[in-house]
């Protein structure tokens, strides 16, 4: 579990910092979100994971970190759907690519974390 946490930590940290850098215009990547706040969120998630590896109850951090990551994944999907709907309503073109975010696929990695802890909770 801890190894997986370190992996998630690394991924979310890199993504988060990149999003922030794009947000303040230091880096420019096509079709990559420039979002200071979204990047900040990812950094917080990464901090949760890495803090968990040094804590007394790593499983708690694993769960909460994964949960928040999953929440964001779902959130961005909802925003994408809303923007798509908005484009239809306003009769504008919908740029799918610019609406995709790395958090979407990455949040799938959070599922094991959430699932395993919820499973344990059931059996208690």
């Amino acid at each position: 579990m801890k190894a997986y946490m370190v992996l998630l930590f690394a991924i979310t940290l890199v993504l988060g910092i990149t999003e922030i850098l794009c947000g303040i215009d230091i880096v420019k990547i096509n079709n990559f979100p420039s979002d200071i706040f979204g990047g900040f969120a990812l950094v917080v998630i990464s901090a949760t994971f890495i803090r968990g590896t040094f804590a007394e109850e790593p499983v708690a951090y694993f769960y909460v970190g994964s949960l928040i990551l999953l929440v964001f994944g779902v959130l961005y999907v909802l925003v994408l759907l809303a923007n798509a709907l908005d484009s239809v309503i306003l009769g504008e073109e919908f740029d799918l690519l610019s609406n995709l975010r790395p958090e979407m696929p990455i949040s799938l990695l959070a599922i094991p974390g959430v699932h395993s802890v919820l499973k344990k909770k059931e059996t208690k």
């Binding site: 900040f40 917080v44 708690a60 929440v71 959130l75 925003v79 809303a82 908005d86 306003l90």
Partner: protein, 426 residues
């Protein structure tokens, strides 16, 4: 210096020290909620996690509701057009089209974000997270005379003050609730952004971001100051103790969440909507009459609104603003977004670029800042006044809010003008 607070804090501080050295939490089988709390209330992660979740709630409430707001906007826009085309009597057509459909649409455009905010709030409440959030923020908030539970509504105010003020219902303590409501309008809502963007774009190009962020910061600072002042003057400086039940975490039930959101949304619809609707009709009247002179609302210059603007002018001249700015700000009374549109109508231009060049004639960087600051502070918009009445109960308190905002806006504007003169900019 408020020694009563200092003493209370000093006592708690000392208690904390005593306890940390003599009381130890031994590992006993931790419940699920305790486990989650170790992370959520973690000394370093607590606040960042809280901010992150707030951001998610913010995004959800305003981004995901946008298509619904647009749909409503378009629907009523179309209905207005249809009314104006189908009704032969011109005045009636304008009344039904711009007045009624326009007015209705304007009110209902607020519905989706409000509903989504209530859904977010219900999820946070039902899951059991809200008391933790309040606990985390209480330390910070109590220093500026606010309660931990005030933080979330204050943050929501950055999106729109209307659902933010309604969100204050989660604050049980009456005094804390009232204070939070009364300073909430100072949190710069998204409707004010167009004004900031317009003026920052023309007069602070290259530093627009800084100019705009400074408005947000100004709002926060003023809110903190006014919270302390209001608490002292109106409510005797009492700070209620922070006592909160921390229930177990549970999976929010969809039924409960939707139900709670619906109940709160309904209240908004009923009360605030009546005031909003009446207000919209009123503004319609002002910009459209006298009918013949304005050619059915085409020539703003001859309307009653313009009359009012010219009456106002002596008041705002010292601030370097002309009657058009006055009318634009007046229209902002209905909804802050309208300010930009009104400026466009008054300067007789349609496009963004044209407005920009027109503005450089009548304004300068200092008066631009004045416009932005006034937009931030001067008045709650009609919708906000509606909820203020609904949530505060007495017109006395609502009038107080309007009054302090007007005075504060004028004072800050004057300060900016004077600083400008002193610094030799103007």
């Amino acid at each position: 210096m408020d020694f009563a607070t200092e003493l209370a804090n000093a006592r708690y501080e000392l208690i904390g020290k005593i306890i940390s050295s003599s009381v130890k939490k031994v590992s006993k089988p931790k419940s699920f909620s305790d486990l989650v709390d170790t992370v959520v209330l973690d000394k370093y992660l607590g606040i960042p996690i809280f901010l992150t979740l707030m951001w998610a709630a913010f995004q959800f409430s305003f981004s995901v509701s946008a298509p619904f707001s647009d749909a409503i906007d378009i629907f009523f826009g179309a209905a207005a057009e249809w009314a104006k085309a189908s009704i032969s009597n011109e005045i009636l057509a304008s009344l039904v089209g711009d007045g009624i459909f326009g007015g209705l649409g304007f009110v209902l455009v607020f519905l989706p974000p409000i509903a989504f905010v209530f859904v977010s709030l219900a999820i946070l409440e039902d899951s059991g997270y809200l008391p933790r959030a309040a606990f985390i923020m209480d330390r910070v908030m109590s220093k500026v005379g606010l309660h931990g539970k005030s933080f979330i509504p204050m943050l929501l105010g950055f999106g729109c003050n209307v659902p933010a003020i309604m969100a204050c219902r989660t604050i049980e303590n009456d005094v804390d609730r009232k204070i939070t409501i009364m300073v909430n309008p100072l949190m710069s809502c998204s409707a004010r952004l167009p004004v900031y963007i317009l003026f920052a774009g023309v007069f602070f190009s290259g530093y627009e971001g800084a100019a705009i962020v400074s408005m947000y910061l100004l709002g926060i600072v003023l809110a903190a100051i006014m919270a302390t002042v209001i608490r002292r003057i109106l409510f005797g400086g009492r700070i209620s103790p922070f006592l909160m039940e921390m229930p177990d975490y549970t999976m929010p039930s969809l039924k409960l969440v939707l139900n709670s959101a619906w109940i709160r949304t309904q209240i908004f619809l009923k009360k605030a909507a009546t005031i909003l609707f009446v207000g919209a009709l009123f503004m319609w009247f002002l910009t459209v009459f006298p009918w013949d002179a304005t050619g059915g609302g085409e020539i703003l210059d001859n309307s009653y609104a313009s009359l009012v603007g010219h009456i106002m002018e002596p008041l705002i001249k010292p601030l370097g603003l002309n009657w058009k700015a006055g009318v634009a700000l007046l229209s902002g009374f209905m909804a802050k977004e309208i300010v930009v549109g009104t400026l466009g109508i008054l300067y007789g231009v349609e496009s963004e670029e044209a407005i920009q060049s027109a503005l450089s004639q009548d304004f300068n960087p200092i008066t631009a800042l004045v416009m932005m600051a006034i937009t931030l502070i001067y008045l709650p918009c009609l919708a906000t006044i509606g909820v203020l009445k609904r949530e505060l109960g007495e017109w006395k308190l609502v009038s107080l809010v309007i009054l302090y905002e007007l005075v504060l806006a004028y004072a800050v504007a004057a300060l900016i003008v004077v600083s400008g003169k002193v610094l030799g900019v103007v």
